[in-house]
């Protein structure tokens, strides 16, 4: 242990002397700038190792650390209160950050927007917000991915693997982002067999492990045999379903490690693509990318590798559709589409492109979903 102490003291001394040298000699500073150096801050609403939403962001932040000249400062478990404003201002004032990634949805308004107006020299990139030209500052932006494409493929695989023809979806809240995933998953499964239904339970919270476990158990009791979810940390659902001998499709990141014998595949974020675009622009001094969206084609999302138990026809159908999605000739939301109360939500002949912002306002559950908004 004393070695460690010495080492860190030496490190600290080295840092101090390096810093003072840099301050003394303009050449050192200039060369540092020429090579490019950037401090970026990343803020998470939960733990960085949650097997979910936050881990997906942290994975991209870890990739950014590998870029020469980039320094990443991080903070986890920051609530959507004044605390996040303090974390952001701290990163700017105390760490010299010029690029911030406040990653939770609730950080956007009012916290990030208010601070961005006061700090025009700092770039802000938010995950999931609706950045709008003319309404929001130019030094802010949002990135998000069409992960419903992956949920559709999850559904295809689940549709092939299910024996009971009844699937389960444990969801946080009935908001557009979540409804879109439930619908895509269900439509994917019903493309295999139109008799399949998805039963959805909303827990009401982004992270509430007790309710998530209860929901999973109660769905399992009802004879549901393949699960997927949209909550911040799928860990409990994956583990509970596996314990009950059921199958799961993951979400956010791969949870295969948690249940290798139950994990079929999963819908994963690949935030590195978005982070890289944003960091590169900051490095090059190019305008801040304000509105980034992408799906499988753009590399914003990806699928977990198939589990050993996934049958060939499932892999084949999912891979075929994936290839079409990547080629840009597959749309999920096509008319005629009915909601689960029988009303037509997309008329016959109408196709909604993934980029259509109407889809980001979704407020219905499609035919085949058991549950209500």
């Amino acid at each position: 242990m004393p070695h460690d102490l010495d080492a860190s003291r030496r490190r600290a001394l080295a840092q101090i002397s390096a810093a003072s040298l840099a301050a003394l000699s303009p050449w050192a500073l200039r060369s540092a700038l020429a090579q490019g150096s950037l401090t970026m801050g990343v803020i998470y609403v939960g733990p960085k190792d949650d097997f979910g939403y936050n881990q997906a962001q942290a994975a991209a932040a870890a990739e950014m650390k590998k870029i020469p000249g980039v320094k990443v400062v991080e903070e986890e478990n920051v609530p959507e209160t004044a605390a996040v404003t303090k974390s952001m201002t701290g990163m700017i004032a105390q760490d010299g950050a010029k690029l911030l990634f406040p990653t939770s949805f609730g950080y956007f308004d009012p916290y990030m927007l208010a601070l961005a107006a006061k700090e025009p020299g700092v770039r802000f990139s938010h995950c999931g917000g609706m950045w709008t030209e003319g309404k929001h500052p130019k030094n802010t932006g949002s990135y998000f991915g069409y992960i419903d494409e992956c949920q559709y493929l999850n559904g295809v695989v689940a549709g092939h693997m299910s024996k009971s023809k009844r699937l389960g979806f444990v969801a946080a809240k009935p908001i557009p982002q979540v409804l879109r995933n439930i619908n895509a998953f269900t439509m994917g499964a019903r493309s295999v067999d139109p008799k399949i239904t998805t039963t959805v339970i909303f827990t009401g919270e982004w992270s509430m492990p007790v309710k998530e476990a209860e929901a999973t158990n109660s769905l399992a009791d009802q004879g549901i045999d393949v699960f997927t979810m949209h909550v911040d940390s799928p860990k409990v659902i994956v583990e509970t379903a596996a314990k009950r001998g059921k199958m799961v499709c993951g979400y956010h990141v791969s949870q295969a490690k948690l249940a290798p014998n139950a994990y079929l595949t999963g819908a994963e974020w690949n935030w590195t693509t978005a982070y890289k675009t944003i960091v590169d622009a900051a490095f090059a001094g190019k305008p801040h990318p304000n509105f980034l969206r992408g799906g499988l084609k753009e590399g914003y999302v990806k699928m977990s590798p198939y589990g050993a138990m996934v049958v060939e026809p499932a892999k084949k159908q999912a891979d075929d559709i994936k290839a079409k999605m990547i080629a840009g000739n597959f749309e999920i939301f096509n008319g005629p589409l009915k909601d689960n109360k029988g009303a037509t939500v997309i008329p016959a002949g109408k196709t909604m492109k993934q980029t259509d912002v109407e889809l980001e306002k979704m407020n219905y559950l499609v035919e085949g979903v058991v549950g209500s908004v």
Binding site: E80, A82, S87, A93
Partner: protein, 363 residues
């Protein structure tokens, strides 16, 4: 005066001990304790920026701690401040739906009063259940706070929802003029002043006024209070209502100064953190101020510690945990007679005496 020396010395010694233990803890994890201590101080109290950070985090805790401390002085253990806070926030955000408010200080004050009324009613309900129906107030206040959160969500996601808030259900935002801004252009908002004023005001009320004294008598021994003719029920309800009003005010200030509307992020655990603050402050409203600042400091320092040393958030919770356990444990040393202990150490004592001393300690 010996007591007030102990009042200050015991927590300070406990805090220093906690910092030393935390140093050992991080050192075992391979992080320099010196660097950690320096960062802890810098993050919490190092400069004006850090002070603002600390004070802003402390502001809501002062008010929610009062929601525990005031009923406690009347003899009730109320832990449902979270419910009063969320309903206070909800009432503050809902008021403009019903009445047109002037977009100035008067309007802001009305918004705050709405929050206080909602919080007061909620905690008074827990007090009334206990006084008139014999329901344990600790359990009922906790359960009532779950009920409050359910009501909050039902209304925010239902009738009061601003249809423009798609992915984060919220009420309509308060008009610009109703919001509470920063003090003299700083980040720290007026909620801090309200918190300090409430702590000092209620502390003086308890200490100096006849009504405050009556509340303390009821808290000390309700039977005696009734024997001397004090209206125990009314005094207990008053203490509960005042405490609830403070938590409700905290919710209203969070809405008017921070969130701008009522949404689920309001349920951030300030009510529960207030329980800890009040107990550390030994239910003394004035002592709540430094304890809340200490708590805010842990939050601010934890933020810097994560960013600079890459320590997980849990490490600061470890420090907080050690600190509070030691501060509470140090209370056990308050009643020790240090002179007697010194004498006993000098004079070898017989077994009978040791027995007696132990007996005294237990008592």
């Amino acid at each position: 005066m010996r007591n007030s020396v102990a009042d200050v010395a015991l927590p300070v010694v406990a805090l220093v001990a906690a910092l030393l233990l935390f140093g050992l803890f991080v050192w075992l994890g391979g992080v320099s304790p010196i660097e950690t201590w320096v960062l802890l101080f810098k993050g919490a109290f190092g400069d004006w920026f850090s002070w603002q950070n600390t004070l802003q985090r402390a502001a809501p805790l002062m008010l929610t701690a009062l929601c525990v401390a005031l009923p406690a002085r009347a003899g009730l253990v109320i832990i449902g401040g979270e419910g009063a806070l969320v309903l206070g926030g909800l009432a503050a955000a809902a008021l403009p739906y019903g009445v047109a408010l002037p977009g100035n200080v008067v309007g802001s004050a009305l918004v705050c009063i709405a929050g206080m009324a909602a919080g007061a009613a909620w905690i008074a309900l827990a007090g009334a259940l206990r006084q008139y129906r014999g329901v344990n107030e600790t359990i009922s206040s906790l359960l009532l706070s779950y009920t409050a959160i359910a009501i909050f969500k039902q209304l925010v996601e239902g009738p009061l929802r601003d249809p423009a808030t798609l992915n984060k259900p919220s009420t309509r935002a308060l008009a610009e003029g109703l919001r509470i801004g920063g003090i003299a252009g700083y980040d720290v908002h007026w909620g801090l002043v309200l918190g300090v004023v409430a702590c000092v005001g209620l502390g003086l009320w308890l200490a100096l006024t006849a009504r405050g004294f009556s509340v303390r008598v009821v808290g000390g021994n309700p039977r005696t209070a009734q024997l001397v003719g004090l209206p125990a029920n009314r005094l207990i309800l008053l203490a509960c209502a005042l405490g609830g009003a403070c938590a409700g005010l905290a919710g209203a200030v969070e809405v008017a100064a921070v969130h701008t509307n009522a949404n689920a992020s309001l349920i951030a655990g300030y009510g529960y953190a207030g329980i800890l603050v009040a107990f550390i402050a030994r239910q003394n409203p004035i002592a709540i101020i430094p304890v809340a600042i200490l708590f805010g400091g842990f939050g601010a320092a934890g933020s810097l510690l994560q960013r600079r040393l890459g320590l997980p958030d849990a490490s600061v919770q470890v420090l907080q945990g050690i600190a509070f356990v030691l501060i509470l444990a140090s209370e056990a040393m308050r009643d020790l007679d240090w002179r007697a202990i010194g004498q006993r150490l000098r004079l070898p004592s017989g077994p009978a005496e040791v027995q007696m001393a132990l007996g005294e300690n237990v008592a």
